[in-house]
Symmetry: C2
Subunit: 454 residues, 2 copies
């Protein structure tokens, strides 16, 4: 490893320049005027991987932006790792809040500022440079590796599911590695081992056949906005517990070890509240903030609307009112089952004075990767070696739907070794990536690949 | 009276042609491009009243459209009646749903179709023709009369309040008569003796300083849309009773006579539900539908909004959520007091996790005119004589804010003798006015004026 570390230290500047080249492509996947930029970026990636020794490097067409694939499969008795990442980026608006052109990267305060620097070009590039350094220094690779780089992650990953299902042989692997998450804090290497799932539902309450004058009808006709409010008010009790029957059935409880580990993390509730502008947190009774957001299922009204919402007064009983409601799920809840419980419950509590329309918008199951596998334990060793600091195992409250596909279709639980920081401003102006984490990340991943051969 | 009735029968066609002339002015007060039309209409009215013997006929300028005033004050020992009406009309959109040009009146099925036919030009004109017929037949008037015709009723009556307050001497009277309401049903003359008041409030619940990702924060931060739903759900109990403390204090209960009278009206609950497209009515327990809408205070959510309301899913905890809420008030509630009770209550029940902003948008007090006065009892006699059918005393669920001003500033409770029908389509396409009610209305009002001298 020392030789590899030496090689990397010597080529820092070269790797940074290559990353800058990569970041210059405005590969914004959600805007069709950037279709060519996305493709040019994919082509650059293909050329680059080919130039450093990747094999079978090519674009695969999908219904949308192409997938970049490459592999290096020469170690018959070693495991095969699939590395997933994405080369597309978020839009840059509001442009005026950037201190530099988001596609003219600049280095400042030991960070590189550009759209995609952290999410996910910088993190994806870590794997390419790790691969390169081992190949350059040892002449081969200790494991088999497959790269799968998507161009639509920021636009909903609309075609990746099908691509994976249609190419199971091509993508067959023992483990999936993804670098697209964040450390808990600066200087604290983190491995994410669980993601929440989601069940998203739209509820519409329909009352009279038209908006009614609240003078002529107020007091005689049940009001859809009030019925909706009543339904929502009956989804949680005053202790923050969700009241849908059987909602918590089968929820995987945290172990005492996990609770202890969460409690040791440098989390400051006061600063947390200050940064959000709230007086105090609120959530399910009996759990800490991190436990609530990482390991407990929750329910949130994401939007509500009905009746007159313009300026001033208009005195009507609205004909209908709607709410968008999502539930975050934890292992071992199932999105379809939870959606059904939700629908059954609100149909049961809705009064006979109104009609109910419920639409399940989408769902995704939670993912958990056991910590005690070699994939996770070796990640811990590799990170500690590269950064000189004991990594922590954390969870994430959000969802990465593709992880479920990897698990179900390829049978490989994702190992989430991210190198982002909470200060990276992903999806926001002035996105940046710490050079310490970039260079250290390459060492850690190279180390990880080496460790996996044993 | 027989001579007056004869005179009227002989001049039916002439009066109809004059009404058609009056209806041809597109006096839409809420649209500035019709400012000249409104003024031309007012001038026509001035000329017409002058031509039939009205005195002191003139326009009074206000900050908006002018007021038409006229009087005839020659009966020293008789009462003085102020007749209020409005010569402006609602917009005509959607134009394509009209069967005729709304300002080219046509007569069909014994109705006249035009914008303003019923609301309120046709009903206003009844008073002018009643005045004319008495003057023509008897050479004088048995009472003193003042006409006050507004040009801004459909645009909020923004200047009438001030006009009345600044001209109390000019407008001094013993009783105010308004013909701008509806009969309960076809063929059933109705006198309205009570209107509800209103208190309109906007509530904003403010949570975090920005919309939050519901994956990263769901379960830890109280959700403004849910808090708002909880507040709304605590404004009424499941029996439809408003739960704001002291809300019902002082509410004037219906007498047994009133309840009996309401119960005798030809109200069909099944047809009512069918016409509204609802399965059943809902309201305060222990009261009939008519009692609820006419004589009970109510609370309605008129609009609610917060968070993401566009198409599809966006998983956020909204930074804030708002609702527009109005309460209809009955005698002897007071809009200011009720607003205060409302605000105090929701401040009390709102949790400490959010900030509350409450804005009182506007208010108006309820109005009730005792039935046993000569003004009301003679109206009953006059209507029975003209239409050959016993009139009913009804209430109205809506509010006519100017009635409160007449009551407070001039000390005269309004006598609401309307001639509209529920089928008149006021404020809608194909507005119309029954010629039977137009011609019969002139007789009834002429009769009323004659009766008041005694």
């Amino acid at each position: 490893m020392l030789k590899i570390y030496e090689y990397l230290d010597k080529h820092n500047e070269e790797h940074l320049q290559q990353l800058i080249e990569f970041l210059k492509f405005p590969s914004i996947s959600s805007k069709s005027e950037h279709n060519n930029d996305v493709r040019n970026c994919a082509n650059w990636l293909v050329e680059h991987i080919r130039s450093i020794g990747g094999e079978n490097v090519r674009l695969y067409e999908t219904g949308g932006h192409p997938v970049v694939y490459a592999d290096f499969l020469h170690s018959d008795n070693a495991p095969t790792i699939l590395v997933y990442g994405h080369y597309d980026v978020q839009p840059v608006e509001p442009f005026e809040l950037w201190n530099n052109n988001p596609f003219e990267p600049i280095v400042k305060d030991n960070k590189i500022f550009a759209r995609g620097a952290s999410d996910d070009k910088g993190q994806l590039f870590i794997h390419i440079k790790a691969f390169e350094s081992i190949l350059k220094v040892t002449g081969s690779l200790p494991i088999n590796i497959k790269f799968l780089f998507e161009g639509e992650e920021e636009a909903g990953s609309n075609h990746l599911d099908d691509f994976i299902k249609n190419n199971t042989e091509l993508l067959r692997c023992d483990s999936v590695v993804i670098s697209d998450t964040e450390w808990f804090d600066f200087g604290l290497p983190s491995i994410c081992y669980a993601l929440r799932g989601i069940a998203f539902v739209e509820v519409k309450v329909k009352g009279p056949n038209r908006d009614l004058h609240s003078g002529s009808y107020g007091g005689t006709v049940d009001n859809p906005a009030e019925v909706l409010a009543n339904i929502i008010s009956r989804l949680k009790d005053k202790y923050g517990r969700i009241t849908i029957p059987r909602f918590y059935d089968g929820v995987l409880e945290l172990t005492q070890e996990e609770k202890d580990e969460f409690a040791r993390l440098p989390f400051n509730e006061k600063k947390y509240c200050e940064s959000l502008g709230i007086r105090q947190t609120f959530g399910e009774i009996g759990f800490s903030t991190l436990e609530r957001v990482w390991a407990r299922p929750t329910l949130e009204v994401n939007g509500i609307y009905g009746g007159y919402t313009g300026e001033g007064a208009k005195t009507i009983i609205p004909a209908e009112a709607s709410a968008k409601i999502s539930m975050r799920l934890v292992p071992k809840q199932n999105a379809e089952e939870i959606t059904k419980l939700f629908v059954d419950y609100i149909r049961e509590i809705a009064p006979p004075t109104v009609a109910l329309e419920v639409k399940a918008l989408h769902g995704g199951n939670p993912v958990i990767t056991p910590i005690d596998t070699i994939w996770m334990q070796k990640a811990k060793v590799a990170l500690k070696d590269a950064f000189g600091k004991e990594p922590v195992f954390i969870r994430e409250g959000g969802s990465i739907p593709i992880c479920e596909t990897f698990q179900n279709v390829l049978g490989a639980s994702p190992v989430l070794i991210g190198f982002g920081l909470p200060t990276d401003n992903t999806h926001s102006p002035n996105e940046n990536f710490s050079l310490e984490n970039f260079f250290g990340g390459i060492k850690a991943i190279a180390n990880y690949y080496m460790l996996l051969k044993e």
